[in-house]
């Protein structure tokens, strides 16, 4: 137990930057990590993978001193600290980029760095121009091309993330930990991130990166560490030893069947249309493209996939169909009736349902109970507007649908915040996929979900389509779109830049996403 890992005299290639021995974390009775022993070599990119709840984030937080280990030991740069905190981790040259960003949204880039990330007193007077020049120089050193005058909340997720990486690297960081950095990025953005990480690696920085997707691991990592239910299944093994299938097997313990759409059951051209958008436009917002005269139809019994680099009008599309934002021109028809100006409630009563982009803020109220979250849909959109309701009956119904959708929970009075991501998504499906559904708008329905939960979502969408409902699937995951979509539409700057039917050609679709029109 006592530091069986070697303690090298000098830090250099081949020695271990960070290693753990029998590391365990208990949260009460729950063992989040069990006896994890792993060593990360200096100057390499180390992936940590596993399903949701496997302990990846906990593991990275232990390294960073954010979570205390219950037992086991940690060795950093050959040293063997008795106690470990964020401060000590930073002093030892570790830093972390979290899933949730820490930059103040209403500050400019320069202000954010100057006042929130360095030791400068925020009480001293300063000149904006001098500040901007200073940070422009520093950002340039890190090869980040972002104006120091830009407001943080006007930047894309990718841009803020690159700023977070700069922040982490500023303090002469030797070991950079990234917690699921690709979860919120579109594929081309992930590619650019990976290029940056490779550049950092060449400079000798050790990178520990928590990832979800097998393909990304194979693309970027030198070694892979697989966690399953808190146990270390593979400990910093060379990535070359794996292919996609064998690595997937290690992660979930059995072969995951990713549904491949081999035959396409398409409705004939004469069949009715459930949703029609005619020359639809929306108002421009800061960070997202608006829709510019978009035409689109969805027929019953088909899945229409929407691909595109993030921020090219996907959010505007979903929100305008749901009635959350107004169309500036054009029309929306649902089963031949014009719904351009009707309320969200009226649209839902006609049979439109939605899986929102952000399940924890748009999909559920995390500080409300399970039964209230489940009952919300029927409570709000019931055609009968009786004044009084029976909580007992609502709870009984909630219990029924939660059971049916196999949501794992302890009590109906539990807050939704206590559920895992996959279970929250199941809850949302249980609420949205009621008998009145005719059209489902699924916005990034598998984002951040593990392999098992993703398969559940895919099966559900496919079953829905086969039962005759229309599905509009917005996703950043091309594999998912290829596997599920009957037709695929690519958005670029709020316009359709490509329209495809299977079998899909990755390079053609990719070109429509990022190429010039």
């Amino acid at each position: 137990m006592i530091n069986a890992v070697q303690t090298p005299g000098a830090i250099g290639p081949g020695s271990l930057a960070v290693s753990t021995e029998n590391l365990g974390v208990d949260f009460g009775n729950f063992k989040a990590l069990k006896n994890v022993s792993v060593g990360f070599e200096v100057g390499k990119i180390h992936a940590v993978v596993g399903q949701n709840g496997a302990g990846k984030t906990t593991f990275s937080k232990v390294l960073m001193g954010l979570v205390k280990a219950s037992h086991g030991s940690l060795t950093v740069n050959g040293l063997h600290p008795d106690s470990w905190s964020v401060r000590q981790a930073r002093l030892a040259g570790l830093d972390m980029v979290h899933q949730i960003f820490t930059m103040p949204p209403n500050a400019t880039v320069a202000e954010a760095f100057e006042f929130f990330q360095s030791d400068t007193s925020s009480l001293l007077p300063y000149r904006k121009s001098i500040l901007n020049l200073k940070w422009q120089r520093i950002l340039a050193e890190f090869e980040v091309n972002i104006s120091p005058e830009a407001l943080i909340n006007s930047l894309s997720i990718e841009a803020v993330q690159s700023l977070e990486i700069v922040r982490a690297l500023m303090a002469k960081t030797q070991v950079l930990i990234l917690d699921e950095p690709t979860a919120a990025l579109a594929p081309p953005e992930s590619k650019r991130l990976f290029e940056n990480l490779r550049r950092l690696k060449e400079k000798g920085i050790t990178i520990i990166i928590v990832l979800h997707k097998v393909v990304e691991v194979l693309e970027i990592a030198d070694t892979v560490t697989v966690l399953r239910d808190g146990e270390c299944i593979k400990s910093a093994v060379k990535v070359d030893d794996f292919d996609a299938e064998s690595l997937t097997n290690e992660i979930i313990g059995l072969t995951a069947v990713v549904p491949q759409k081999t035959e396409l059951v398409r409705m004939d051209a004469s069949s009715e249309v459930v949703l029609t958008l005619v020359a639809l436009s929306t108002k421009q917002h800061a960070s997202e493209s608006a829709l510019a005269s978009l035409d689109l139809t969805v027929r019953p019994g088909e899945i229409v996939g929407i691909a595109g680099v993030e921020g090219n009008g996907q959010r505007a599309l979903v929100e305008v169909i749901m009635g959350l934002v107004k169309a500036t021109s054009g029309d929306i028809f649902f089963e031949n009736s014009r719904i351009t100006n009707v309320s969200v409630r009226a649209r839902r009563m006609k049979g439109i349902r939605v899986i929102p982009f952000d399940r924890l803020t748009e999909g559920v109220s995390t500080t409300k109970t399970l039964w209230e979250n489940t009952a919300a849909g029927s409570l709000i959109n019931d055609k009968r507007r009786f004044l009084f309701v029976s909580p007992k009956e609502l709870r009984k119904n909630s219990e029924k649908v939660l059971k049916h959708w196999q949501v794992k929970y302890q009590s109906l009075d539990q807050y939704v915040s206590e559920l895992s991501g996959g279970n929250v998504q199941r809850l949302i499906f249980s609420r949205e996929l009621d008998s009145g559904l005719k059209l489902l708008i699924a916005a990034q329905p598998t984002r951040g979900l593990d392999v098992g939960a993703t398969a559940f979502v895919h099966e559900t969408l496919d079953a829905l389509r086969n039962s005759g409902a229309g599905v509009l699937l917005v996703s950043a995951d091309l594999e998912e779109l290829f596997a599920l979509s009957d037709r695929l539409i690519v958005l670029q700057r709020g316009c359709i830049s490509g329209s495809f039917t299977g079998p899909y050609d990755r390079s053609l679709v990719g070109n429509a996403m990022v190429g010039t029109q």
């Binding site: 959350l324 309320s343 969200v344 939605v354 803020t361 500080t367 709000i380």
Partner: protein
């Protein structure tokens, strides 16, 4: 619940320590307080008289805060309600007695609701921060009350200096000067039951609770959040207005410049201590009612300054709002809404 109890006990202990250090006899003060609130003749009447006012105003505060709209305008809505009631009672004093009483109550409800509608509308249509607008409408209401009670409503029998209205006809009073009667008790019970039904047994109650926690999710589910906002402002104004009417028809019998000036803010405190539920409201209202009754009684039996008991409600307010503010920050951090609240 346990933490709120802790605040109350903590505040009691602190005030007791202060009194002890200042050389007062704790036993004397404690005796005085218990006598004033519970054991002296008619002490229960005094306690329940204040509880009634807190329940009526607090019910509306609970409805609005639960829905995420922080209506601090109870005092102003209370004044407008009292003006509505006193106007009907004075200018229609020869009408059928019960009808006039009923219409005075209705006028109070309408006056309070209309006064609350203004900041509600500003909030929903123009995104004006309701904390600021409701506080400002309070000051406006004080001026309206002063000008009317010195103007058309002024009692000419009194000295020209006094700014209070004529007293309503005794036959229209629903209680004597003590402010307690079966009628006022019935009104507060009715309001409590209505509040309980709204919060736990109606669509509106459950949905507005979700809106208060996460308006974004509610919008995606098809809730018209602005519509909910207008309704909760109207409801909370109506209940504060009803309280104003009950004060006019009951304890006061008239309005005067700046009367019952602490009632609105204390009732907001009661609502927050109640944990935003009907049963909690009943308990908190009785507790604060007892404190108010004790406060008025203590100077009779002891030389302890009454402000020492006021200090106590101030301390409870400090404890509770500190926790409230922390929760508020937590909710806002999630980036949900400008006025998301929770307890």
């Amino acid at each position: 619940m346990r933490t709120r109890l802790f605040y109350i006990i903590g505040s009691l202990a602190t005030v007791a320590a202060l009194l002890f250090v200042s050389g007062y006899s704790l036993i004397e003060v404690g005796n005085g307080a218990i006598k004033g609130a519970f054991t002296a003749p008619d002490a229960w009447h005094a306690t329940l008289r204040w509880s009634t006012a807190y329940i009526l105003i607090g019910a509306g505060v609970i409805i609005s805060v639960r829905a995420g709209f922080f209506n601090l305008g109870a005092q102003g809505q209370f004044y407008l309600g009292s003006l509505g009631a006193v106007s009907v009672s004075l200018y229609w004093s020869n009408g059928p007695r019960y009808l006039v009483i009923a219409m005075s109550l209705v006028a109070g409800i309408v006056g309070g609701a209309l006064w609350a509608y203004v900041p509600g509308w500003l909030r929903v249509k123009h995104d004006a921060n309701e904390v600021i607008t409701t506080l400002m409408t309070n000051f406006l209401a004080i001026l309206v009350l002063r000008s009317l009670s010195r103007g058309v409503l002024q009692d000419d029998a009194g000295s020209g200096e006094a700014s209070s209205s004529r007293t309503i006809d005794p036959s229209l009073r629903i209680s004597n000067g003590s402010g307690f009667s079966i009628t006022t008790l019935a009104i507060s019970t009715f309001v409590l039951i209505t509040l309980w039904l709204i919060l736990t047994r109606t669509r509106f109650g459950i949905i507005s609770g979700i809106v208060g926690r996460n308006p974004l999710m509610a919008r995606w589910q098809g809730v018209d959040v602005g519509d909910v906002g207008i309704k909760v402002f109207l409801l909370s104004g109506a209940s504060a207005g009803l309280a104003g009417a009950v004060e006019v028809l009951g304890a006061n019998g008239r309005v005067s410049s700046g009367f019952e000036a602490d009632l609105g803010m204390t009732a907001i405190l009661v609502a927050i201590v109640s944990g935003l539920g009907a049963i909690g409201l009943a308990l908190a209202a009785i507790f604060f009612g007892a404190m108010q009754a004790a406060l008025l009684y203590i100077p009779i039996v002891s030389d302890v300054p009454p402000s020492s008991l006021q200090l106590m409600s101030g301390m409870i307010a400090l404890f509770v709002t500190a926790k409230f503010a922390i929760n508020l920050r937590h909710i806002r951090k999630q980036g949900l809404h400008k006025s998301g609240e929770s307890l």
